[in-house]
Symmetry: D2
Subunit: 140 residues, 4 copies
């Protein structure tokens, strides 16, 4: 286990699909955001907090406000990837998540996503509930 993996305690594993790879024989650059989304969904499941569908029912949503991705290496067809997810910072209504994609001990992709918790209709940010804050801090 390399130092690069050390900051993460939550990982989600997935395998690169044929259709996700492009003419350069590597995963298309936009598909890593798809992987981030899949991994964040599993991270969120691990928190046990209300999932996106449950949030929709009460008129709330987490939407992505900002994404940053550094492409340090490239994954290819059939690679098994481990996606580390951790919460770097919890603001009043935002979550800053760090994500990194590993193939074995090599870090291929590093990135961050800023999510805002909002009223789905008014499109206005809403304070993150204290219970969520506690649970996310626990999981880190």
């Amino acid at each position: 286990m390399s130092n690069l993996r050390a900051p993460f305690s939550f990982f989600h594993r997935l395998r690169v699909r044929w259709a996700e790879v492009d003419l350069q024989r590597v995963v298309f650059n936009g598909n890593y955001l798809l992987y981030f989304d899949v991994a964040f969904t599993e991270y969120w499941r691990a928190t046990g907090l209300p999932d996106p569908i449950a949030q929709q029912k009460v008129g709330r949503e987490l939407f992505v406000r900002k994404a940053e991705i550094e492409y340090l290496g490239s994954a290819t067809f059939d690679d098994e990837l481990d996606i580390g997810v951790r919460c770097e910072k919890i603001g009043r209504s935002s979550l800053t998540m760090n994500l990194a994609i590993f193939r074995d001990d090599s870090c291929l992709i590093a990135g961050s996503l800023v999510y805002v918790y909002a009223d789905a209709h008014a499109k206005q940010s809403v304070e993150i509930p204290a219970a969520w804050r506690d649970r996310i801090s626990e999981l880190a």
Copy 2:
């Protein structure tokens, strides 16, 4: 204009995107259904009939019940494709559409989609309105 194009009077043109091409340097087989969908959307716009969003507002939807695709050739990155769309048959609550994808005069893909017009909540088929029937017959 080849004989193969002859049955079609409606065409939609699109260009193959980088991310749609796979390791075999050709469009991933599933993406032709994406192209069919895009072309059907444009065909439907040409009919002037209520679009999917307008249909949703009154609790109706057209959903795909069956798809068939024959892969006769393959498209690659940056190809400009013409997608022919025509209605082969209008049933009580279904539309059988023929679609074909051409690069110049060569037919790469031939297929059909059967759509069912339905109540979006009850998930039950609903009779296609007479006015739709007339308009689609006109356009063929």
Copy 3:
């Protein structure tokens, strides 16, 4: 285990991703071909026969010649799906595969894919090796 699952001995499980679901709150119709492809990749891994990359290295490929899909039900976000894969028929140079997608005991999607084994450069069909034939018959 329902009768519908009975013909299949090989299954691959996957979970529906957020980005795969459309405005009708169901998996976009074209994405089931993506699922078929993922499941066929795993079926092929189970055969132990040369994978697509190994085939490319010797100038061979399996390409899809025909696809048929019946949409009997619809999957939605976060559903866990079991995709059954079996070989219905082995021709001189073609494989006819049956695939079906289950959520628990309900069959949502039934389909078939015809693959042709070919010389990747000459784009001509090539006889399926006897050893492949035996192995696939074994696995059914």
Copy 4:
């Protein structure tokens, strides 16, 4: 024409596809990188410089090293979007591109992509040819 559009002289227009929209009724966050890629392809075509396929033939490629995206608004099904593309900076072997996605005069997405020009086999950066530098500066 708003001030936000002012920095851009090159725009590519596209229409949001059904399959690109998610359960929140907006374009899935990762798909904007797909739009950036499509728009960059058209920008590059406008330069008249060797395209990705021509670059591959001589063992060169432009790969994405870094991406940043700010989500200021959201696009939905059938929206017509204008994607502005401009080169902010040309380094020895890198191009920093600014991109922004507009629906009419409202800027929905702002982002940047850093591309590195490289030897496709050695995976090492290569100096951007002077002729490219001149042409890109011309187009801005």
